[in-house]
């Protein structure tokens, strides 16, 4: 039915093809342009957050040596860094960026089902980014409450930005949620309703599965952030006491009473934990495709991979309070949440096994995207395993609020997804731009980033074992921390600055290759999934020329026995014998 309706739209596409520069690249409704707009904005704001992390590390590595960093702006940097990286970079890039680009191409659709709403989604996202960045310049500066924005401190004396700072932050988050919802409706409905003929759900690449389930999680979880933000706005602006208990602030009675700060934490983490998987699941999906394509082998245990995604998605809603073991909530909750949290390790571990087993008996091409994918499996294994420490309620007692937590979540949802982001960008760059990137620079970028980030975060865990608390502007002299720990801190800081600078290689490569890169083969890696079979590279508006593709197989027919070529595009039917690389494009 939808197939017919999409075919009908062919005429529309002919007539409504964007004509001017503005409709083509600015107010564009083409999912690919919107994806790039999302991606570029997210990377830009990510660079801002990266600079903030360098500023923080300067203070931590070399305390009190830089006049521009004081406790006030240090806590502002912490807050903005965290919020930007988690939401405005990773969520926006994986779903708004990759989701937008890949869903219609991998599902064989012309575009998203609601292109206008899709366009609005980007512009509202951009607005949310502008409001967020504006909070640096409002009176009192940005909020310094930490990215968790816990009340009462987020809106009471002693924290930076308790007036305009927190208001712009909450406003920006609300805008982001609106933008995400508009995008998310598109992603879900497109995956469900607008695939091409023959594309059953189980023939979809895992990238789509990851993005699809992450979007569902986002749609159901972001409301919790919205609800907590709205309630906090009420507390701040109208003087309600949802979260505000009777308290004294800077020696003055606040006149509030009865509110429960722990209630906010429940709401926040009810969003916050699924958020981790909103970032992780697309990374899981994409990395599966990178591994399969470059190992020239089908993904091992495809069905298990899909079910694991579903299981992780479902479980992610009943583990939130593992962020709150020492928050003062009813301690008996600890039993339940420790159990659910450790159960979620099982499907996650299965995914790791299957990635590694995909390499087994493969024919592994160690190209740049593959290096990033392998790097991901390594760092994710490390980060996932340290999660078993923190998820186990007893071990959380000494380790929560220390650098162990910082190291863990940066490894598992900082470094790992970012490695996938890089791998994915290199992987699809030829398709997106029609040019090849510089392979040598890509390799340098990988090696320095991978080794650099691991040497930042591995030792950081041990500061946590030592008991060094996170979110400290300075440690000063303490009995339990040996002098050498400060040396380690300085070394970490130097590495951070180095790794940050290395990213310039990436930017240079991406920008210069746009013009100078070798013209790309339409399917340089021999990919079997649909996006490599488009008639044009880069794909034009409408993606598929006059006729939509028809799918005859799953996305992982690599090295099928008895076939000459080591991949069979999804568009090739069982009767056709693949004879050449261009076969898939004869449709």
């Amino acid at each position: 039915m939808a197939y017919v309706s999409i075919a009908d739209r062919d005429h529309e596409i002919e007539h409504h093809d964007p004509q001017t520069f503005i409709t083509k690249y600015v107010w564009s409704q083409d999912h690919k342009v919107i994806a790039i707009q999302y991606g570029v904005t997210a990377i830009f704001v990510g660079i801002v957050a990266l600079v903030l992390s360098v500023l923080m590390r300067l203070q931590l590595g070399f305390p009190d040596s830089f006049a521009l960093i004081n406790p006030e702006n240090y806590y502002q940097f912490i807050t903005m860094h965290g919020m930007i990286m988690v939401i405005y970079l990773l969520t926006a890039l994986f779903l708004g960026g990759f989701g937008n680009y890949l869903i219609p191409l991998m599902c064989g659709s012309r575009d998203m089902v609601f292109p206008f709403m899709n366009m609005l989604s980007f512009w509202v996202y951009l607005l949310s980014v502008i409001v967020l960045l504006a909070s640096f310049f409002v009176p009192g500066g940005a909020t310094g409450a930490g990215w968790t924005l816990y009340p009462p401190q987020a809106i009471s004396q002693g924290t930076p930005g308790i007036d305009w700072g927190i208001l712009t932050m909450l406003g920006s988050l609300a805008l982001f949620i609106v933008a995400f919802t508009m995008g998310g409706l598109n992603y879900v409905v497109t995956v469900l309703q607008a695939r091409c003929r023959g594309m059953t759900l189980m023939r979809m690449p895992l990238s789509i599965w990851g993005i699809f389930i992450a979007t569902i999680l986002g749609l159901l979880a972001f409301p919790a952030l919205l609800v907590s933000a709205v309630m906090m706005l009420f507390d701040k602006l109208v003087g309600t006491s949802f979260f505000m208990p009777a308290m004294v602030s800077a020696g003055e009675q606040m006149g509030t009473g009865g509110g429960s700060p722990v209630l906010f934490q429940h709401l926040f983490w009810f969003f916050g934990h699924p958020e981790v998987y909103i970032v992780a699941l697309p990374a899981f999906g994409i990395v599966s495709d990178l591994l399969a394509t470059h190992a020239r082998k089908n993904i091992f245990g495809y069905r298990m991979m899909v079910w694991a995604l579903l299981a992780i998605g479902g479980l992610s809603f009943i583990v939130w309070a593992h962020h709150m073991y020492v928050s003062g909530m009813n301690p008996y909750f600890g039993f339940f949440f420790a159990t659910t949290t450790l159960i979620i390790a099982v499907p996650t571990a299965l995914k790791v096994y299957n990635w590694v087993l995909t390499l087994w008996q493969g024919n592994i091409h160690l190209r740049v995207p593959m290096l990033f994918a392998i790097g991901f499996v390594f760092t994710f294994t490390h980060g996932g395993l340290t999660g078993l420490f923190l998820g186990n309620v007893t071990i959380d007692l000494p380790l929560s609020d220390t650098y162990f937590v910082v190291a863990h979540f940066h490894m598992v949802m900082g470094v790992s997804p970012i490695l996938v982001v890089f791998g994915a960008i290199y992987h699809w760059y030829p398709k997106i731009t029609g040019r090849m990137f510089n392979e040598t620079l890509g390799r340098w970028h990988f090696w320095l980033t991978f080794l650099g980030t691991y040497s930042i975060y591995l030792p950081m865990h041990y500061l946590g074992f030592l008991g060094v608390p996170r979110r400290y502007f300075a440690m000063g002299n303490t009995d339990f921390m040996p002098e050498s720990a400060q040396t380690l801190n300085a070394a970490i800081s130097v590495t951070v600055i180095f790794v940050a600078l290395v990213q310039l290689i990436f930017l240079y490569n991406m920008i210069v290759s746009l013009r100078n890169g070798k013209k790309a083969d339409p399917n340089p890696w021999g990919g079997a999934s649909l996006e490599w079979q488009t008639p044009d590279t880069p794909p034009k508006h409408g993606n598929w020329g006059h006729e939509l593709p028809v799918v005859h197989r799953w996305a992982y027919d690599y090295s099928v026995p008895g076939q000459e070529q080591d991949f069979t595009p999804q568009t090739v039917s069982a009767d056709e014998v693949p004879v050449g690389r261009d076969h898939g494009m004869e449709h």
Binding site: L185, R197, L201, V227, G239, T240, G259, Y302, R303, W554
Partner: protein
């Protein structure tokens, strides 16, 4: 949080079990001519219907979370239950009528009866606006009685929940206004049918939300 968990659990169970049903018995690496013939549309419904359904899941999550927050906050000792204005019963009746009116309009649209659309939409819209007006009057009554938003968390929740519900209705009215304009400028039943059908679902949904919310408010 139990309430949210129940709602979300229901949604997740629906989604996951449906997805599992699609995926359990397939071996996608096996060539399957039946699968080749499958259209890429999983559910036999329009994109807009799917879009609305998904949005309703999001809205359900929002309302469920608010109600969860309500029940959690209620346990603190400073909670003083609010005596809801009797006017709310009247407002509820109006909203029920609005929903019925919309359903009547929908039936007209489905059966291609363009003539009945104008009165139908008009009545539905007017009733909805009356409901919103009634809610505003209820607020004024409370304020006149000294029940300000900051006086007690129970009051704060009352204003907050009714406001969020009202905002959703306003969003619906925007679509209603667009549709009504179309009908007034001579659109046929067929061209606005989908819009009216979806609005009807949305109105029923918001009626249901209101009844649940009103029930929670009354019983506490």
């Amino acid at each position: 949080m139990t309430i949210t968990l129940v709602f979300l659990g229901a949604i997740m169970v629906t989604v996951i079990s449906w997805l599992l049903k699609q995926t359990l018995n397939t071996e996608p690496w096996v060539s399957d001519p039946a699968a080749d013939a499958v259209s890429g549309t999983s559910l036999d419904t329009s994109n807009k219907t799917m879009g609305l359904t998904t949005f309703l899941a999001v809205a359900t999550s929002i309302f469920a979370l608010f109600i969860s927050a309500y029940t959690l906050r209620m346990q603190e000792p400073d909670w003083r239950p609010l005596a809801e204005p009797a006017l709310l019963w009247f407002n509820t009746a109006i909203l029920v009528l609005a929903s019925i009116a919309y359903h009547w309009t929908r039936n007209a649209a489905v059966s291609g009866n363009t003539a009945r659309l104008k009165p139908g939409l008009l009545i539905s819209g007017v009733l909805t606006i009356m409901f919103l007006g009634g809610q505003l009057i209820a607020w004024q009554q409370l304020i006149a009685g000294g029940f300000y938003v900051w006086t007690n968390p129970a009051n704060a929740f009352f204003y907050l929940l009714t406001a969020v519900h009202g905002v959703h209705l306003l969003g619906g009215l925007w679509v209603w206004a667009r549709c009504t304009t179309k009908v007034w400028t001579g659109a046929e039943a067929d061209s606005v049918r989908l819009s009216i059908e979806l609005c009807t679902v949305y109105w029923h949904f918001l009626l249901l939300v209101w009844i649940v919310m009103f029930g929670v408010l009354l019983s506490t």
